[in-house]
Subunit: 219 residues, 2 copies
């Protein structure tokens, strides 16, 4: 079992029994979605911006416009916090106090560098797309020089991270167990609907397997 | 039409035609979910933490343990950034470059104060719960003194905010329109499953209407 290092920055203090620093768990939570929230400091303000990402081992890739303030901002400070949360359920207790949620969340604290090597940059773009829809890179027109040059790619090396998971039923006070209040869990998940093909599609073009598989795996 | 003020902090520069500062739009996006990402500055690091919230006019309430680092941190700095994102679809273009997502997102920049007035505090707890499941406050045991005192409630007054919305189909280069690549949108949504009643429920207790309505509205 391989763990991320623990410091005051990433140590989970509240609800610490739900915390883990195990790399495989952190990676699995990161791989189960493709949207993260980036936190960065701008003129003493914390700003949070959602963005897509891909992961390759301990590197997370994000991309954006050359002039994107968030992207420029994290390059300037050299560091970033990424937050990912899967909401898995509402935990509705008998008591207001014990209401909770089932979730899997990760906080990543990382170092930031611009990806300038053309090979790594193209691989990073492939990584981000395939992280969203596995294998879809093979079904699209690749970036031409103008598009490639207009895209800023940033590599975030995971310096440390923590995960927090709640995956259980209601926990109520013993004294409430025989009360008349209902308690239970409402499962929550994110699902994909039927793909809506572009109306202007050339004739005879079918939905690629990558998309069909994505939808089948997210019903 | 009533707008939030626009400054360098909240002005959307990239993709500005998708931006709005209209209060009704911002409020609607805030009211369509109950989990936000809180950004705050801790020892020069931006940290992002997911948490539940409720909204009452231009105030957002959050709650947590008295010792919660995020809660203590934002009280110390006096300000906070809240980010909310609904992912509505994957926009899969013919070209890698024009891939995008449909989404509704809001960034709130607010001032922070601890809610100390007991009446406001109890109303804030009701607001947070009813924001998650409308009307559910009437179906739970209310906090007793010990629980009430152990809960820290923070009011975030919305100083300014911005929303960004993408809700359209694929936009590709004209030169790609007759290519052999597929393009389309995969709708994404968050859904609720069938409520799972606690096994230890006292006999004869039925699922409250608030929960049934929530599930019916989130299928």
């Amino acid at each position: 079992m391989c763990n991320h290092s623990v410091s005051a920055l990433n140590k989970v203090v509240r609800g610490s029994k739900r915390a883990t620093y195990e790399k495989d768990t952190v990676y699995q939570i990161l791989d189960d979605t493709f949207m993260c929230n980036i936190g960065y400091v701008w003129e003493n303000n914390a700003i949070v911006i959602p963005t897509a990402y891909g992961r390759d081992k301990d590197i997370i890739y994000i991309h954006g416009s050359l002039k994107n303030r968030m992207m420029r901002g994290i390059l300037e400070t050299g560091k970033v916090c990424l937050s990912i949360t899967h909401l898995d359920g509402l935990v509705l207790a008998r008591s207001a106090f014990h209401h909770s949620a089932n979730y899997r969340s990760v906080n990543v604290f990382g170092s930031v560098r611009e990806v300038q090597d053309a090979d790594e940059k193209m691989k990073a773009l492939e990584c981000i797309m395939n992280h969203m829809v596995a294998g879809h890179w093979e079904s699209v027109r690749k970036p031409n020089k103008k598009e490639f040059d207009a895209t800023l790619v940033i590599a975030v090396t995971i310096d440390t991270a923590s995960a927090k998971i709640r995956a259980e039923g209601v926990i109520d006070e013993k004294s409430d167990m025989n009360s008349d209040y209902w308690a239970g869990v409402v499962p929550i998940k994110q699902v994909a609907g039927r793909p809506e093909s572009d109306e202007k599609l050339a004739k005879g073009i079918v939905i690629p397997d990558s998309v069909l598989t994505y939808v089948a795996n997210n019903r």
